[in-house]
Symmetry: C2
Subunit: 460 residues, 2 copies
């Protein structure tokens, strides 16, 4: 397998009006654009100016004359849009493995919420999130949506490593590690919106935790804030039967209806899990344009259930994919996550034709972006869109025979096949190396924090 | 993270009667023995003489004085028994990705069986199997049970790379790529038994394909051969509802009863899949001592269904784990396979407590060995057993916090964390490198075969 040669050419300042200085050219790869026609180029070329795709097309003889600040030779590689992780709690890597083999309820109440009180701080969130971002980028993800605490630290980490992030400070009725009450969290959300408005990588979201942790007034205020600022929102929804029973008993309606009546659902809202929708819920979701993010590995690990994809897609509901946090998966790989979606849907319907690899890739890219109102900017490789690109090395034996790259991605690819990732036009990982961070130093800090947690956690 | 330093000491020929020359010492790691008490040593040491474990225990000060032909410093590593893959069709890597998203029936009849007629030969089986073995060893597997054609080529490949293999030439009513009829296959099985009796890595098995491809006479003769030679046997069993209907309609009994009445089941028999057992079948399996190998990823991908583990274990039926062939998974990793078992069982019972990581590891090691009558020799790290050992690097961020290695293996480990594998006392993979094969040359041959198949497959 040829090594990817990173060459460079002279950078010519444009003297002639029609000569555009190109920052980065990626050549030689098989490109799966994931546009609405599933256009492919083989070999293809991408020209990036600033943070956007300026040109994408066949890598033909004319391309030889192209000059750019840098040329990335990706001969024999496979290129896809960087994956979009619709749901995460990245800072929770510090709790990975804590509290084994428990239901969601027991895990949250007996392990996680007490542990968060003790250990969640700006420092641990920064390091923990950075660790998760390293795992995410290493497995081809370019954007993730986070719901946690001290989100400005997550922003700092994302900025450091160069990753795109949608950040929501978790809104709950009761005190969180970062805020004493919901009103304070919402105010903080507004402050973050102001602070990061022009940041190229950071988008602020209103993140209400769940129907069972947010009273009607809180949901209403959260919805109003999202509308006022015209930003996306997200929430856990109908993850367990217990949640449905609790909300029905409390408010006399389903969790989806509860949110809808308070104005929370909409075309820039993403609902995570969505395992227990009734027929009316499905109509509500479809009419509101809310996207459901399926969180398969977590649903399995916590024994919550399985999403019935066909019920949602039949109603025209968009479905995207998320990994959940590293403490309830326990990996952070969108490659493995989309592979899991395939398997689960095939087996619950006992029908291998129920979902196809191209559909899966859409769920892991453009559907994710659309859910958060970013579908015009991201999620496919098209002229004018942001340059978020994943470059895969298909050299391993499991990529052969090379019948169909979509098929291989869906059923055989390893996360470790991801070679390089471009986010916002920048190479944030090159040949598996992160140019923007000192990986060993971060791992070292993370290990220290982990050891400390491990020792303290067993003390009363 | 310290690098694993491979040092060496002088080898002293034993002059004194009580001085034993040790071939390989592995020091410094956390050892999970998977013995019946789940004994652990941290740090631990293993002494290997020839192909067996001579000593295993704490790596204390006294160990400093030990002399050996070679010392492998595995400081900070995690050691487990090499994994045991109970079911594979290794040569099918040449068909990976062929025929997308089809049911078992359509896939076999319209793609695989026609393709096998054209492309399965000694050459393609040798290369295809070697490719699968590379993937298996890279993900920590030491032994696999194969059911395919030209199994003496698989033996040649296993011998080349140094992998332990249980080989069964697939017995069917109709002509196979290697034999015109069942009687010829059974005769060949006997010949292979004679040829490989003393081979340290190769065990021959009687491999009848399935109840729906083997008539009563063939099953009976296969069972008799296994009894006569006192060797293990294996078969696909109750993989689909259609199989149950077919057998019931043909013979007026369930597939399990069909086999049992013909004498095929027993304590050295492994039945693959086992998705559709009725209550009587469960009793039959329990009484006969037959092991069921669960083949989770394949069951999902082909939409066949899910094993109901509790129903089997409640009756005392042993359950092991297998990957199936690379064309119906499509990976070959027992790490990912055992992780999938965990998720599926938790979600089908909607109960995360239904299975624990230590149980999973047993299913992936000692249960596999016991199924094939090798439980005294393999499957756990104990004095006197064969030295089949997997050495894992737990340095990646997903291994932290280090609360519980069983937990991490079950939920977060990547196949790529496997660093070195010892099989039969020999290092068959060291720091991800295979000392016994030219990997690039094999990949090259495999790619040529793959490309050829890809071109020809679309011609009439």
């Amino acid at each position: 397998m040829d090594d990817s040669r990173i060459g460079s050419r002279f950078y010519f300042i444009a003297k002639m009006k029609d000569q555009i200085p190109i920052d980065l050219v990626v050549t030689g790869a098989k490109i799966l654009t994931l546009d609405e026609h599933f256009t492919e180029y083989d070999p293809g070329v991408i020209h990036i100016i600033g943070n956007r795709i300026h040109h994408i097309g066949p890598d033909d003889a004319a391309q030889q004359a192209v000059k750019a600040r840098r040329i990335l030779h990706a001969d024999g590689r496979i290129i896809i849009p960087a994956l979009f992780n619709s749901h995460n709690h990245a800072g929770m890597s510090i709790f990975r493995g804590l509290g084994n083999d428990l239901s969601l309820d027991g895990w949250l109440n007996h392990f996680i919420w007490p542990a968060e009180k003790r250990f969640i701080s700006p420092e641990t969130v920064y390091i923990g999130s950075l660790i998760s971002m390293m795992e995410m980028i290493r497995s081809g993800t370019g954007t993730f949506s986070d719901m946690y605490f001290f989100e400005e630290e997550v922003a700092r980490a994302a900025d450091k490593i160069g990753m795109r992030a949608i950040l929501g400070e978790g809104v709950m009725d009761f005190p969180t590690p970062s805020h004493p009450a919901a009103f304070a969290t919402l105010r903080h959300t507004r402050e973050m919106f102001n602070e990061f408005q022009d940041h190229p990588l950071i988008t602020i979201s209103v993140a209400a935790h769940a129907p069972y942790t947010c009273s009607p007034d809180v949901i209403r205020k959260a919805a109003e804030l999202a509308k006022e600022l015209n930003i996306c929102s997200n929430i856990h929804l109908s993850e367990t039967i217990k949640e449905v029973e609790t909300i029905t008993s409390r408010y006399g309606k389903s969790p989806a209806k509860y949110l809808s009546d308070l104005g929370f659902l909409g075309p820039q809202t993403v609902a995570h899990h969505g395992l227990y929708f009734n027929d009316e819920d499905l109509d509500i979701l479809a009419e509101s344009g809310t996207t459901t993010a399926t969180i398969t590995n977590s649903n399995m690990k916590l024994g919550s259930g399985s999403l019935q994809l066909k019920k949602l897609t039949k109603k025209g509901i968009h479905v995207s994919i998320g990994t959940d946090g590293p403490a309830s998966n326990n990996h952070q790989s969108m490659i493995r996550e989309l592979q899991e979606v395939a398997r689960v849907q095939k087996v619950i319907y006992q029908d291998p034709t129920v979902i196809t690899p191209p559909e899966l890739l859409k769920m892991a890219t453009i559907n994710g972006a659309q859910g958060y109102g970013m579908g015009q900017q991201l999620g496919s490789l098209e002229v004018g869109k942001l340059a978020d690109i994943t470059i895969i090395d298909p050299g391993g034996p499991h990529w052969y025979p090379p019948f169909d790259p979509y098929n291989t991605i869906a059923y055989a690819m390893h996360s470790g096949d991801v070679e390089s990732v471009i986010i916002n036009g920048q190479l944030v990982m090159e040949q598996r190396v992160f140019p923007n961070i000192d990986e060993e130093e971060i791992l070292d800090q993370f290990r220290k924090i982990s050891q400390q947690i491990r020792q303290e956690i067993h003390q009363p």
